[in-house]
């Protein structure tokens, strides 16, 4: 199942980071069709990702089988994640384990936990696992 990606300001005006993250989700869903369920679970919600070391931010709005990508922080995201670029990329290396839960005890998972503890990864609503778990699955390349 293919999902469509729409850039609010047009593909030519999308930031490189926005193109990269959107492309990653799109490719992951194509390669793992079961992740369509995660797109549907996130439908109607948005997530903001801020990457301060490169001064970039984007908002991803999930609309069933469409991903709307907006430059910057827009609207009222369900969750805002702030992480430097290496941590943000590291989150994609998290494995997905039993019952679709992210694995926190292997190398990549421990890196994420360490980043959280050291406040190099900040999540404004960490209790929103209804958003964070499917988002992690959509980003995971493992």
């Amino acid at each position: 199942m293919a999902i469509s990606v729409v850039f609010e300001d047009g593909e030519d005006n999308a930031s490189a980071m926005a193109s990269m993250f959107a492309g990653l989700i799109q490719a992951n869903v194509e390669q793992h069709p079961e992740r369509e369920a995660d797109m549907l679970q996130l439908s109607g919600k948005s997530v903001c990702i801020e990457v301060p070391d490169i001064e970039e931010a984007l908002t991803l709005e999930f609309l069933e089988r469409q991903l709307l990508v907006r430059n910057g922080k827009k609207g009222n995201p369900a969750v805002t994640i702030a992480a430097d670029s290496d941590v943000a990329m590291g989150m994609s290396l998290m494995k997905i384990g039993l019952a679709g839960m992210p694995v926190y005890w292997d190398g990549a998972g421990r890196d994420v936990v360490r980043a959280l503890v050291r406040r190099k990864l900040k999540i404004n609503r960490p209790w929103r696992i209804d958003v964070l778990n499917p988002l992690t699955r959509l980003f995971s390349v493992v």
């Binding site: 930031s15 990269m20 970039e56 990329m89």
Partner: protein, 142 residues
């Protein structure tokens, strides 16, 4: 001994550095695929012609690294493109390659999940670049 940047001798030295790296060997143990680096011309920096670097990488080994045309580099499975001055910044560790791609300072083409999966390998390849002594054309006295 220092090598002219992006020369055949530099390519051989770079290949040797990659193959000497146990970190790369482990991080890229399952990597299969070619990588093309396109170094765009900057005549003002004494780099008059766009040059390609073709890396034949297989299971933790650089089977070949050679200087090629732009077109040949573009035929690789994964292509990273940027101007000469950006590549020089990366080689001198003044610019992180992952950040550069997220900022659009280096343009990336290829299957994104695969590239993200091997982030550690690509980071080590950048480290290997920094270990090759280089003579940059814009630093040669006139």
């Amino acid at each position: 001994m220092a090598y002219d940047a992006f020369s055949d001798e530099w390519a051989k030295a770079y290949k040797d550095e990659i193959n000497k790296s146990p970190v790369y060997k482990q991080a890229a143990a399952t990597w299969e695929g070619s990588v093309g680096l396109v170094v765009e011309a900057e005549p003002e920096n004494n780099f008059p012609q766009t040059t390609g670097v073709f890396l034949d990488l297989w299971h933790g080994e650089a089977r070949d690294v050679k200087i090629v045309s732009e077109a040949d580099a573009e035929n690789a499975q994964f292509v990273i493109r940027g101007p000469y001055s950006r590549w020089k910044q990366v080689a001198k560790k003044e610019l992180d390659a992952t950040k550069a791609m997220m900022q659009g300072k280096l343009k990336l083409k290829g299957d994104l999940p695969t590239i993200v999966r091997y982030t550690k390998a690509s980071q080590e390849m950048t480290e290997c670049t920094t270990r090759v002594p280089v003579i940059y054309p814009d630093e040669v006295p006139a």
